[in-house]
Structures are given as C-alpha cells and as structure tokens.
C-alpha cells in the first residue's frame, strides 16, 4: 500500500513536470533566443544556454523608434481605458449590489452575450460609427472601445465585492450627511481597494494584450499599439529578425506576466465572490 503510494507520487510528479515543460518551454526558449547572437540563432544550436549571452537584440529593440513609441501607445491606451472603466464602473457596481436584481441579470446576460458574438459583428458598425466621429485611427477612439469592452466584466467583479461590505457602514455615513457619490468614492472605495486593484489589473492586461480592434481601428504607423507593431514584425520585413523579435516579445510579455501573477489570486477569489453571492 505504502509502496504503491510512493510510486503514484513519483508518477504524478513526472506527469506534472511533463506538463510544465510543455507549457513553459516555448517562453524559455524565446528568452534564450533573445540572448543569443544572430549567428548562434542560425547555427541550429539546441542549447538553452546561449554561448555568449548578449543584450544586443534588446539594444536593437530600444534603438527602434517604432517599437518604443508603440509601447508608449499601449501604455497610454491601457492606463486611460483602465482608469475610465473603473471610475465609471464603481457607481454602477454599487447600484447593482445594493438595489433590485433586474439589472444584475442584464449585466450578466451581456457578459455572456459578448462571449457568443464574434467581435467582427461589433467591430464593423463600431468602425463606421467611430469614422463618423473622426475617432478611427485615434488612440482616443481605441481607448473608448476598450473601456466599453471591459466595463461589463469590471462591473461584475466590483459588484461581487460591494455585496460583501456591510450596509451598516453606509448607514453611518448617511447619517453624517454624505451624498451617494461621496459615499461611494470616499467611504466604499477605500474598502474596495483589493477589488479595484483586481479590476485595474484585469482591464490593463486586457487592453495591453488586445489585438483585433487595434489592428482594424489604427492606420498610422506612429499610432500602432505594441501588439500590432509586433504582428507587423512577423510579416515580410521581420523574416530575418528572429533575435530582435524574440527580445521585443519578451519585453511585451513582462508586464502581462507580472500583472497576471498578482491578478490570478484576486481574479479567482473575485469570480467566486461574484458567483456565490447570487
């Protein structure tokens, strides 16, 4: 019995290590590539450890105006869409948590609805609408699109947390004569910090990672977001540039992986808080 358990434990570890190799290896390989010299990349070496590690590809990336400015664009769109989405969602989340449940079903329905509809159906009319408002090929337009795209989910996440906060706290603030908005931003917001943090991370990562809308809505080379710029890199002009592409990809991955690490904990608990309370 005991022997059998040890064997199964070893087998489980082996299986897990197999999974991890499969899941992590491609990224590790890309990191290794980004540190290899171009001749070494083309030498057909299978070694994970570069012969002579160098940061030359990173230097190339940073010397390229296009990549730097696309990173700046991605930060711009990410930060503004996140801030707007959370600011707008806070009062809404409060309303969903504290009043009747009719709108709750609408919001939840909308979250699920957006999953079933292919983005192309929204994208075409959105493109036409934004073109009318002179907001295609504009970071402002893209920011608005991301706000709307993130809103239902952020609303839902925040609303789950608001429900865990006792109403008595609000009643005390009301007696002190605070208005509803003051109540939400002065009294509740500090209590909601973990949830706000999770929403911020979620919204930022989804804007940082987004590709489809940016691909269609942006035209000028100097407005490209990082994902679109990197996608262009893989086209004809990037064929012979494995090293710099790997370096740029590593750089593009760093913010999302870092935020994701933090996000993951809050994310899972947030989902559960939202689901259990209903």
């Amino acid at each position: 019995m005991k022997g059998g358990r040890i064997v199964s434990g070893v087998a489980a570890h082996c299986a897990l290590i197999g999974f991890m190799l499969f899941l992590v290896f491609p990224l590790v390989w890309m990191m290794s590539t980004s540190l290899k010299s171009t001749p070494e990349i083309y030498s057909g070496s299978a070694s994970l450890v570069p012969d002579a590690p160098s940061l030359v590809h990173y230097r190339t990336v940073f010397a390229e105006q296009k990549i730097l400015s696309s990173m700046a664009n991605s930060f711009y769109v990410g930060i503004f869409s996140t801030a707007l989405a959370v600011l707008i969602a806070l009062p809404g989340a409060y309303a969903l948590a504290r009043y009747s449940t009719r709108w709750n079903n609408v919001v939840l329905g909308w979250i699920l609805g957006t999953q079933i509809f292919p983005a192309i159906l929204v994208l075409i009319p959105l493109y036409l609408l934004l073109r009318m408002l002179f907001l295609t090929d504009s970071l402002v337009g893209l920011t608005l699109v991301y706000v709307v795209w993130d809103l239902p989910f952020v609303l839902w996440m925040l609303h789950g947390y608001v429900r865990t906060i006792p109403v008595e706290i609000e009643e005390a603030a009301e007696i002190d004569g605070a208005s509803r908005l003051q109540l939400i931003f002065r009294v509740l917001a500090p209590l909601l910090l973990p949830a706000i943090g999770a929403s911020v991370l979620f919204a930022f990562v989804s804007a940082w990672n987004e590709f489809f809308f940016a691909l269609v809505l942006l035209k000028s080379p100097d407005l490209m977001t990082l994902q679109v710029e990197l996608a262009r890199f893989t086209g004809m002009e990037g064929q012979a540039r494995t090293g710099p592409l790997a370096a740029a990809s590593v750089l593009a991955t760093v913010p999302s992986v870092m935020l994701f690490g933090v996000l993951q904990k809050w994310f899972s608990s947030g989902l559960i808080a939202g689901a259990v309370k209903n």
Binding site: P91, Y99, I116, F260
Partner: protein, 294 residues
Amino acid sequence: MSETLHTPRGRGQLKLLLPALLPVLLLSVIPLLRGVYLGFTDYSLGSPIRFNGLANYARMLKDFYFWKSFEVGFIWTIVVTAAQVILGLCLALLLNRKMRFVSLYSTLMLVPWAMPPIIRGIVWRQVYDPDTGILNTILLRLGLLHESINWLSSFEYVIPAVIVAGVWGEIPKAAVFLLAGLKAIPEDLYEAARIDGAGTWREFRSITLPMLAPVMAAVVSLSFMWNFNTFGIVWILTQGGPGGLTRLPMLAAYEEAFRYGYVGYAAAIGNVMVVVISIVLFAYLRVQLKESRS
C-alpha cells in the same frame, strides 16, 4: 434583507448605472444590433447600405471558401476544446493532490495564459521556424527527420501545428477553472467512499466527475465559444494560409470586410457563426442537463 437600502429603488439605481450603461449601449449594444442587421445587406465599403434579405446566405451556400473556413473552424474548435479540457482536467487532478511544489506548478502553468495572444503566436512561429526552430533541430538530431520541415506552410502539417499551439495556450484556462471546481467538492464524500472500499477509479467515476459536471459544462461551453471565435494566434501563425487551409471563420470574415470590402457579407458570416455556436451550445447543454438529471 439587510442588503437592500431603505432608500427609494429604481430612479437612484438607474442614475448610478447610467455612466456605465450609456457607453455600453452606444458603443457595444447598438453596434452589435447594427452588425447583425448589416448581415442582411449588400453593404460594401464606400457604397450605400441596401437591404438584400437572404442574398448573402444564398451566396454562402455556393461559396467554396466559406465552407472551407467553417470546416477548418469546426476541426480547430472541436479538437482544441476537447484537448484543452482533457489535458486541463489531468493537470487539475494532479494539482489537486497534496504534494510538494504544487503551488509552484500552479503558478508556472499560467505562463501561456498570461502571454498576449500575439506573443503566443510569435513564440510558436519561432518553435516551428524551418531555419532556426527548435522543433526541427531536435527532430533532426534525433534522426526522426532528414531535412527540416516548414511546418506552417506545409499542407500536411499546418493544421496539427496550429492546433498544438492553440491547445498549449488554452490548457491553463481550463485547468484553473476545473481546479477551482475540484477544490469545491466536499472531502467527506471521498472519505465515505473510501470506507466503502472504493478504488481511485471508482471515486473518480462516481464522485469527481458528477460533482464536477456543472463546472465542466461551463468550461466546455466557454472554451467552445472562445475557440470558435479565435483570431489572433492563428493570424500570426499563418494568416490563414497555406492556401486558405487555416482560414478560421473569424479570419474569413476579417478578410471579407477589411481586405475585399464586402462588409455585408462579412457580417453575414458573423451571424452564421452566432447561429452555429448557439445551436451547438444548446444541444450540448441539453444533453448535459439530461445526464445530470438521470
């Protein structure tokens, strides 16, 4: 209930919700409805919008490329969904054991999910690269290949190659949700089964699987939708090539709209995608429901 305030309902709620609802309505709900409508018009960029009933769908019936793209769309969606759920379940079961390093593994496994879809594509392009790719290098060294293969432009290998990359990116999502589901199964069920002398397989069949059924149904449904609507990773890997072999429905719709300008037709493809997904999900959830009742 103490959760509801004593203040008047309705008006106050709407006022607070409005800043969120208005932009969603303007930039999401209305465009979506308009998008559905455009699928019944002959609209192409630069020309007026004219209702043309079901003409787009009649054209689809005879459109070889449409059928091709839905065919590969189904292969992709079914294989990726099945593989990610099965592998994700294996991974979740392993991570649900009380062992050392489990938390390290649970963090590491998130890596593909945390990467932007475009980077996922770039990573696998580099793995598959005919000149510098590690896959060719390893297979050549092992003597399994005699000359390197250009995986992503080979008619034979491109679909499996794209599917492997897709599954790789989707396993973590399935594993995270299924692991949460496993953790929610009460421990005493297993203890009772153990007292009755049930083996591991019996436990899995008669406790784990039935208890996991609702989470499983959710994971399968969501994955199915997400996979059917995939764009980014395949776009980066192949742009739909070679010869349109990996032109998933979303890629087809994108090209119709933004390469050829047939916006109405592209929206019609989108509509058909919605109908197809709805039918499949409806059928699947009905079977699930029946099984869980019996």
